[in-house]
Symmetry: none
Subunit: 242 residues, 2 copies
Amino acid sequence: MKYAIDHKSPIPLHIQAEALLRKLIAEDDYQEGKLLPNEVDLAKKLAISRTTLRQAINKLVFEGLLVRKKRFGTKVAQAAVSSKSNNWLSFSQEMALRGIPIKNFELHVTWVYPDEMLAKFFEIKTDKKILKMERVRGRSDEPFVYFASYFHPRVGLTGDEDFKKPLYEMLEQEHSVIATLSKEEISAKAASTFIADKLRIGVGSAVLLRKRFVFDQGERPIEYNLGYYKADSFVYTVESTR
Amino acid sequence: MKYAIDHKSPIPLHIQAEALLRKLIAEDDYQEGKLLPNEVDLAKKLAISRTTLRQAINKLVFEGLLVRKKRFGTKVAQAAVSSKSNNWLSFSQEMALRGIPIKNFELHVTWVYPDEMLAKFFEIKTDKKILKMERVRGRSDEPFVYFASYFHPRVGLTGDEDFKKPLYEMLEQEHSVIATLSKEEISAKAASTFIADKLRIGVGSAVLLRKRFVFDQGERPIEYNLGYYKADSFVYTVESTR
DNA sequence: ATTATTTATATGTTTGTACATAATAAATAT
DNA sequence: ATATTTATTATGTACAAACATATAAATAAT
């Protein structure tokens, strides 16, 4: 069985099923219109009840990702307009898609007190320490991005995790945290001495600052992420309809 | 009982319940934050199972009309929480929202031959002239953005239009062109001599480049728009879910 | 007075079961 | 050959029952 469900996991089965379905329907076959396995069979295969499976399917139907037809089956909704912008790719995935090999330069984990803004975002007090992760990434000896991430205590990170793994995969599997919503702010900045040093560029050079506010399913704050990209090393693409 | 459910009706009970809830929560009390009756009681009162009632509530929760909180209850979502990012606002609207008065510095209309890229985007030949509009905007004597727009011949602009009016309003009313899709690319750049001059900043200073590819309802290309924003004068916000 | 613990109560999760209904395909009658 | 009836097969609707979990509020411990 390609994908499966973990009955021992604290993540609700219907949430797991939902995630699984999203993976499943990302496959080419389904994108091209192949019908999903029928509910009764799929439920049996995943060892969950049909009701639970239906809960997951319902959500995707509501989102407009799937369409159901009686007697026929369930399939991926043929996107009316071209593919929706997927801003959800992680950094390594994005780069991997473009065939650029990534290397971690510096990876640094500390505990810090949040500033006013961060405390407000996390809805915690400023005297409660939170985990900060910094990393510089790039190709070989040429760094092109500096990241700083702050994690909400709720996530339960100890600092000993393997941050070389894809982050959200790790959070999902080991900490039952599923990030579903992200609000981003993108702007251009002149590099500070700190950033200039990290990216090995001149002070005042152009950098792209990408702030990300990440939330879980309950819209609770999970992560605050800052990314300083060297000019031209990163292009942000968005598609919007009205 | 104020509202009730008809078990003999061919309309599914959860649909009836949904309609009933919509009526119920339209009442002032609920609009002002009163909690709905709890699920168990309400189900009993309506003589349907809790599962069925939940099906109805779920739909309204999906829609964002209701919010649930454990141990607390279910109530009407307080309208217009964080307004979803509408990337469709025109520049002047965006700024107006922030209370910044806008002034047009330079407004310049010419006919030019498209370069390779543009010809490809517009699906025309490079020997067909197209309309180019340039403008510098900002507050009083401090410019903060330089725009260059190229319009597809299909739009039928002559160059004599009043470009001081909101652009898309004008296109819609006078040229029956309805822009519905936009693909954007955002990156940081070092200012070229040309841009530095326009924005009155130093060469090499940080600018945000925002390329917009605009399409009409038939997904036909309409406009190609370049915006060079002075660092920190513009923040792009995006909200994405998965 | 403050902090920790318990309890009550709402929503959240999950299963098993049953029958209804729409749409197609196959079998049958005209 | 064409219309009609009859399975078949998928989703659709609905219930009862049980246990899990978050959290506000009450209570006990410090």
